[in-house]
Point group: C2
Chain length 384, copies 2
């Protein structure tokens, strides 16, 4: 009876719809804060590329005083418009984007940028010199070879970047890295090893800079897995993490959370069956779930998502096995003894996503659930 009531409470939403379970969202947010306190009190600078929503950010952070990280200048502009004042734009700066950086800094936002090469350093230095605004810069360090950043064995480049920034009067604020490699870990131990590499890389880089007369007050690391399995944060001043308030199947596959901790799901409606094939068709396809198949490289491939009852309880071994643009095809995981549940046309389901950042970006906002009822809507923004 309670279940039916809760189902009805979301039955008025147009499907597919994006849902956030507020209790899980709050618990995940608290867990990250507590993890960092236990690890020694580095400042949390959440990466808001995941939520891209002012009300979601305010819920996570309690206000606009918190430092934040963004992945686009549109995010910086939107969060600055809401009152956030300490913003790190954590994708290597393209010189043509400096105009938007100045504009935000001119509005009193302490917007800092990152870079890993001499051309960008010179461009920032020229801007700083021309404007008299010492645009703060973190030098990006490559801690695991997975993406951008100065390699630790290239201290000549590290120092040349620092020198180019100083020559133009830009502010070298410190160093940062992202342990993207932690997403390939297979155990908490492997995540801790990634966290140690991440930390050691930026501590080494900061030490090289300081040993050569450069201040590097900020030492910034981050990813949700390494922030929850830190290897000791002595010397680290701040931790960035993004997906933690929502969590997702990739994080569950890493062992970083349980299925029931995942706060984000897509509400879908059954629109048909192919009973001879064991298929249930729903009105959420890859346009709703995104094309992200992050669990495909994990031990358990969850297809396009794990299927739950409308109240959030997972069905045994029922996944979205494949997807077209607006069709999801649900079936029982190969090899499972679980039967296909009886779900007539019109049944409501919730699908847990592979990757919260990707799935959330397919929607214009979040329907916020409390006690199973949709109590609020948090708009989000996409684009650049």
């Amino acid at each position: 009876m309670a279940e039916t009531e809760r189902t009805d409470a979301i039955g008025g939403l147009h499907t597919p719809a994006l849902l956030v379970d507020l209790a899980a969202f709050d618990a995940n947010s608290a867990r990250m804060r507590e993890s960092l306190v236990r690890a020694g009190g580095a400042v949390l600078r959440p990466h808001l590329k995941t939520v891209k929503s002012v009300p979601a950010a305010l819920r996570m952070l309690g206000g606009t005083d918190a430092p934040i990280t963004v992945s686009t200048l549109l995010e910086a502009e939107q969060f600055a418009g809401a009152g956030f004042r300490d913003i790190l734009y954590a994708v290597g700066i393209a010189p043509a984007k400096l105009g938007r950086v100045w504009e935000l800094r001119g509005r009193g936002v302490d917007l800092s940028v990152i870079l890993d090469n001499i051309e960008s350093a010179r461009a920032v230095a020229r801007s700083a010199q021309a404007s008299g605004d010492p645009i703060p810069v973190l030098i990006e360090i490559d801690s695991d070879g997975h993406r951008a950043g100065v390699r630790l064995d290239d201290s000549a480049l590290l120092l040349a970047i620092a020198e180019a920034l100083r020559a133009g009067g830009a502010e070298l604020r410190g160093v940062m890295t992202h342990a993207g490699g932690s997403y390939a870990a297979r155990s908490g131990e492997e995540i801790r090893a990634a966290a140690a590499r991440e930390r050691d890389a930026v501590l080494s880089a900061a030490s090289i800079l300081r040993g050569n007369g450069f201040a590097a007050p900020v030492v910034s690391v981050g990813s949700t897995p390494t922030a929850l399995y830190p290897a000791g944060l002595a010397g680290v001043t701040e931790v960035r993490a993004g997906v933690y308030p929502f969590m997702d199947l990739v994080m569950a596959g890493l062992g970083v959370c349980r299925l029931e901790d995942i706060a984000l799901s897509v509400l879908a409606t059954v629109i048909g069956h192919q009973r001879d094939k064991g298929w249930i068709l729903v009105d959420a396809g890859w346009m709703a779930m995104s094309r992200d198949r992050g669990t495909a490289s994990q031990v358990v491939d969850q297809g396009y998502g794990v299927v739950c009852e409308a109240d959030g309880r997972p069905y045994p071994d029922l996944i979205m096995a494949s997807a077209n643009q607006e069709h999801g095809i649900l079936s029982v995981r190969p090899g499972s003894a679980a039967g296909l549940p009886d779900l007539p046309v019109g049944s409501l389901l919730r699908i847990l996503p592979n990757h919260a950042c990707a799935t959330a970006a397919q929607f214009g906002g979040y329907h916020v659930l409390e006690g199973g009822a949709a109590v609020d809507h948090w708009p989000r923004f996409n684009g650049w």
Copy 2:
């Protein structure tokens, strides 16, 4: 010199940005019209799930008189608002969506729906009876086992659906199918075989219905590959296709178009290098390209996209080999003798996407290029 001018003409756009080459868009649109004329004159009912943009639709179709197909009721509402009046909503109707269907039909829109099961047919019949509005229905036929639809060997179900619709006074307008299996073809011959299966399936279904006293005036087929490689369309009244005005790498991999026919691309800026690895980093990652990796199952895997100069000419064997949320990693295809081009930080590039429907959905609009200059912006809508 001309090249530099054309590059400068788009240099003012914030990257990543979505570009449409108008000449290619027009040529692709004309090619589809001509293909159908040659095949015998079935009506083109374009699937606007790809463009999701009123100005793009008007450019394709020359006005709002054309019949159209949509994949969501939001598309139906948006295109109806722009004046389109003959709209097929081509995803199996969920009973809870009938309210939005009535609302549109009440505004004078000839909105038709599809279904493939008795529960949905009864729901539509009840609605038709209650409202006195004979909601037009096409019965979806499964022509290749890839998704939804009544199987041809289940004529009992086909007739039961038709009877349920008639009992409520709903309008059985005909039958439709989608040859999704054509995307797995390896040659024009295989596409023609898929087109023949698609056509034969709906012709058989229409024949069963007519032989049992049901009118089935509409016989609807469609996919871009089968529409461009038709197997003869006698008896088919309309053809649906969506991706054709843009084309994409999946279509090029199928042999349905050439790389230079692809009208859609993502403009990106070089933000760094990992020279020891042969990597160029750009500010377009999977958030811009989408996570679609449609070419991964084709003969040539194009990664997240084929990299072109700012004027659209592909670099030899340069692809976006991997992607993070806002980072694309470009490298030369494994095994290629091509060298990495010298692309300093700040260089502008264009990336051709795997799948136009997925990439376009990551953006709020199209920058329209004519003669290499951005001459217009077509807004698009996402969501449901």
